[in-house]
């Protein structure tokens, strides 16, 4: 008996549908069916953040998220941040602060930083360390990541102020 079902969701702003089996994870479906390269499976246990995707506005570890649960949602990945012409201020801050080395974990850090800044527009050093404790960077660009988050916060806040 096949348990395959068709799910429909909005992927990076565009409506999509695909057939999935119940045991398929969101990370597999995004990568295999939709060629989303910015979502990556590394630890497979929700600990490293490489597979971070945004489902209905909240960050999830897509390696621990059943694809069927994405039915009817809006799923966003790093591919949807900024635009082809202009980077998001967080992306710019990561470049300027040098907050990346191999780049494999970078999309996860950036997406989580966006969530952090939505909750804490002016995060303390401690806020950043705790919020991003669930993202791992084996190259250990951690000092630069701290700097990038603070830089991005300053940029966002100054942009939000009325001219």
């Amino acid at each position: 008996m096949s348990n395959t079902r068709t799910i429909r969701f909005t992927l990076n702003g565009a409506p999509v549908k695909t057939d999935v089996e119940p045991h398929e994870t969101l990370v597999d479906v995004l990568r295999q069916r939709f060629n989303i390269g910015g979502v990556r499976e590394s630890c497979g246990q929700g600990l490293c953040g490489c597979c971070t995707a945004i489902v209905d506005g909240i960050a999830v570890s897509s390696c621990l998220f059943l694809a069927m649960f994405a039915d009817g949602t809006a799923v966003d990945t790093i591919e949807h941040l900024g635009s082809s012409h202009r980077l998001d201020p967080i992306q710019e801050a990561f470049i300027e602060a040098g907050a990346l080395q191999c780049g494999f974990c970078t999309p996860g850090f950036i997406l989580m930083t966006k969530q952090l800044l939505d909750i804490h527009p002016v995060p303390s050093d401690d806020d950043i360390r705790h919020y991003l404790a669930g993202n791992l960077c084996r190259c250990s660009a951690y000092p630069e990541i701290l700097a990038a988050v603070k830089l991005a916060a300053r940029r966002r806040n100054s942009a939000a102020e009325p001219a």
Partner: protein, 763 residues
């Protein structure tokens, strides 16, 4: 008249990584993301016993799963590759287990399916039976054990520095390196005082976040391998050898690597995917899971014994070191680690009489190889803890004791190679300054004791090796750089363009780098051992200079005066009558090297340069629990003259945090040959919360006279001395010495209780 602004020097600019934009948008290419039409996915079925003869492998259930294309064992591999054994030092590793398994986790069979999850599910249905053999686990016991991991050792003879390896039977010792400098025995006999200590280090894993991944695509009599490899040139040589093909039929390409750290070196999954693609005629991809990475390659666990003779002036007069390297079931590059780390196992001290023995030992564990330091961090753990212990016994300040014995430029090191262009003394000075070593130190309270420690170490660089590069000037004057160095996050693309740009007097960012592709980019020995900036950097410099001289020749040919400002595009137009043609500059670099004498291990030119690093640490120890916090961590390395200061600093801090994990939390725990903690939930790598609050990373300039613009490699330098600095700080805080890594809260507490005569029960 305002003068023309001087062109900005390209060397010394902290430009962001060239590929930064691709990485922050998630669009950078990794082999992890590669999918080819018609591609099959492989999933490996692994041994669950550490040592045994395979009596049966039952693949019928796996074969029956819908979507499974084929299940492959060593018999199938042999139909393509009759002698399916590979390795950089010995041809000892079978592509799949060949009737015998030598570690728990060894690949035995592969399921190929249209879909990765189908392959995974089917692999779970394979069963195997084994006739279990006694296993050897400990590196010291394995030397005299009557159980042999391999019946016969078959040297590979691929690398110039490993030509002396012997084919042998009846031993687990793959290589023994000995070094004899002066007369250590006589010096010990005459010594005022002798100190002797033993140390151990644990097995750890590189843990790149992009797990091992390789894709092979056999078509039209050629084989293309897309692989997350640090050494594409070696992969090509080894695959061609296995197949009996000419090198030009094998093409090896890399993309960005999601971390390497020495794991993705030499040959790993490539032989397997090559055979599978040839067997099926389809592209085949194998991506490991994080859990499987623990079965691929590790850093050697070591046992180290070190003995020193010291005179009444606090000068070390003799040192003897014995090191046993737990190489696991396959030698990989362990013999080189054993030899290279052997060169410097006596530490960066000026010692007249040195006797070193270093043994690469086979055991029934996952293979061990190079990991950010080629063994130097293990030897430094021993010699820098030993250094503190001696200073304590002599009641000499630990910094002063080091200064008194430090190896100075111009003096011969134990191998006989004269040390030059190092910043050893400057690093000690900088550490002292950053830690305010001469100032009173707050030792905390009874409950929270504070302490501080320093350590310094060095390493020889792998030799002899060579790199080649091509600089192509296009007809519009733009520049393309062909370079086989693999950018795995260290920023080599950026650094290499800065070197070429400096020579050509153009902007680094305007140069395009062609990523390693053995059909296109020239040979490079590998991206490893801090060698790229020096070796490839020099090759790129030479290639750019060659291009520059060809430009000058063209100008002469066109009767333009030297220094003429006619743009390049115009030169090509004048030469060819249109925008056409190229200038190709080539560069090849091969530093001087003299092979060590086999009896004495000595050589006048054992390394092209020295990698040097020092660490200072301040810790707070909770005396009730042994839990400790590193409050200040200072890492200072010798960087030559940095090409890109920002990238250098990141190499220092990244290496330091990595080694911090190897010091306080990472440990592959084996129970009866089985790994018990092979996942990131149970094997803990550092995160943001572990970053010391006061974290300082700096370099001292020590111009490398023959480096490109004075530069040298720095990728490993900050790993070398970090562990002993923290161990020394803990000892300073609470007065107990730990001799075994990792330094855990429990090990500190146990040592404190033992010192009080109230040992904590084992269980």
């Amino acid at each position: 008249m305002t003068p023309e602004p001087m062109p900005l020097s390209q060397v010394g600019r902290s430009i962001p990584r060239l590929e930064a934009s691709a990485k922050v948008t998630g669009r950078a290419e990794y082999v992890h993301n590669l999918r080819l039409p018609g591609m099959l996915y492989g999933k490996i079925f692994r041994s669950i016993v550490p040592h045994g003869r395979i009596t049966q492998v039952n693949v019928s259930a796996a074969r029956a799963v819908e979507g499974v294309h084929r299940v492959v064992t060593i018999e199938d591999i042999r139909s393509i590759i009759p002698n399916p054994y590979f390795g950089p030092a010995f041809h000892d590793q079978p592509i799949l287990a060949d009737h015998k398994v030598r570690f728990a986790g060894e690949p035995v069979a592969v399921v190929l399916a249209e879909n990765y999850r189908v392959a995974e599910q089917a692999a779970g249905l394979i069963t195997a039976q084994y006739e279990e053999l006694q296993a050897v686990d400990d590196e010291v016991e394995a030397v005299s054990a009557s159980v042999f991991v391999h019946d016969e050792l078959k040297p590979a003879s691929t690398f110039a520095d490993l030509q002396h390896l012997k084919g042998q039977r009846g031993t687990n010792v793959a290589l023994d390196y000995r070094l004899r400098h002066g007369d250590a025995e006589a010096a010990f006999a005459a010594a005022d005082q002798v100190f002797e200590h033993s140390f151990r280090t644990q097995p750890v894993m590189h843990t790149p976040l992009e797990p091992f991944v390789s894709v092979a695509d056999a078509a039209n009599g050629r084989l293309t391998i897309h692989t997350a490899s640090q050494s594409p040139s070696f992969v090509r040589i080894e695959i061609a050898r296995l197949l009996g093909w000419a090198e030009n039929r094998v093409r090896v390409k890399t993309a960005h690597l999601g971390g390497g750290f020495g794991s993705k070196l030499y040959i790993k999954l490539e032989a397997l995917v090559a055979a599978l693609s040839l067997l099926t005629g389809r592209p085949v991809k194998i991506s490991l899971t994080m859990e499987e990475q623990f079965f691929m390659v590790t850093r050697h666990a070591c046992t180290l014994k070190i003995k020193s003779a010291v005179d009444k002036n606090g000068r070390i007069t003799a040192r003897q070191c014995k090191t046993w390297w737990n190489g696991g079931a396959y030698a990989d590059i362990g013999p080189r680690v054993t030899q290279k780390a052997g060169f410097t196992a006596a530490g960066p001290y000026d010692i007249e009489n040195v006797a070193l023995d270093s043994y690469a030992v086979y055991t029934n564990r996952p293979p061990a190889s190079a990991l950010r330091g080629f063994g130097a961090p293990q030897t430094a753990w021993a010699y820098e803890t030993h250094t503190d212990l001696i200073a304590e016994a002599l009641n000499i300040d630990k910094l002063e004791f080091r200064r008194r014995n430090i190896l100075r430029n111009g003096r011969p090191q134990a191998t006989g190679t004269v040390v030059r262009d190092t910043g050893l003394e400057a690093i000690l000075d900088r550490l002292a300054e950053r830690l305010a070593w001469d100032q009173p130190f707050d030792r905390g309270s009874d409950k929270l004791r504070r302490g501080r420690g320093i350590a310094i170490g060095f390493k020889a660089i792998v030799a002899p090796t060579t790199s080649a590069a091509i600089v192509k000037i296009n007809a519009d004057g733009s520049c393309t750089l062909y370079c086989g160095t693999v950018d795995m996050g260290q920023g080599s693309d950026t650094c290499m363009t800065q070197i070429a740009a400096e020579v050509l007097n153009i902007e680094a960012e305007s140069i395009q780098v062609i990523h390693p592709d053995t059909d296109v980019t020239p040979y490079d020995m590998g991206t490893l051992g801090s060698r790229s900036t020096f070796h490839m950097g020099n090759a790129v410099r030479l290639a750019a200079e060659d291009a520059k001289s060809k430009i000058a020749a063209l100008m002469a040919e066109l009767n333009l005066p030297p220094g003429s400002n006619v743009p390049l595009v115009e030169l090509f137009r004048r030469k060819y009558g249109m925008q056409a043609g190229n200038i190709i500059g080539t560069g090849s670099f091969h530093p001087a090297y003299a092979k060590p004498d086999h009896q004495t291990g000595r050589s006048p030119q054992v390394t092209p340069f020295w990698g040097v690093g020092g660490t200072g640490a301040e810790v707070e120890v909770d005396t009730e629990t042994g839990q400790f916090r590193v409050t200040t961590l200072v890492n200072v390395v010798d960087a030559g003259v940095p090409i890109n200061p920002k990238l250098v600093q990141q190499q220092i801090s990244g290496a330091a945090i990595m080694q911090f994990g190897f010091t306080v939390s990472e440990n592959m725990v084996f129970h009866e040959g089985q790994l018990t903690n092979g996942s990131l939930a149970d094997y803990k790598i550092p995160g943001l919360l572990d970053l010391p609050r006061n974290f300082i990373n700096e370099w001292v300039e020590a111009r490398q006279h023959d480096g490109p613009f004075g530069a040298k490699g720095v990728g490993e330098s900050a790993t070398i001395a970090l562990s002993p600095a923290i161990g020394n700080a803990i000892a300073d805080a609470v007065g107990v010495r730990l001799t075994e890594l990792p330094l855990t809260a429990e090990s500190v507490y146990r040592a404190m209780q033992a010192a009080k005569g109230k040992p904590l029960p084992e269980q």
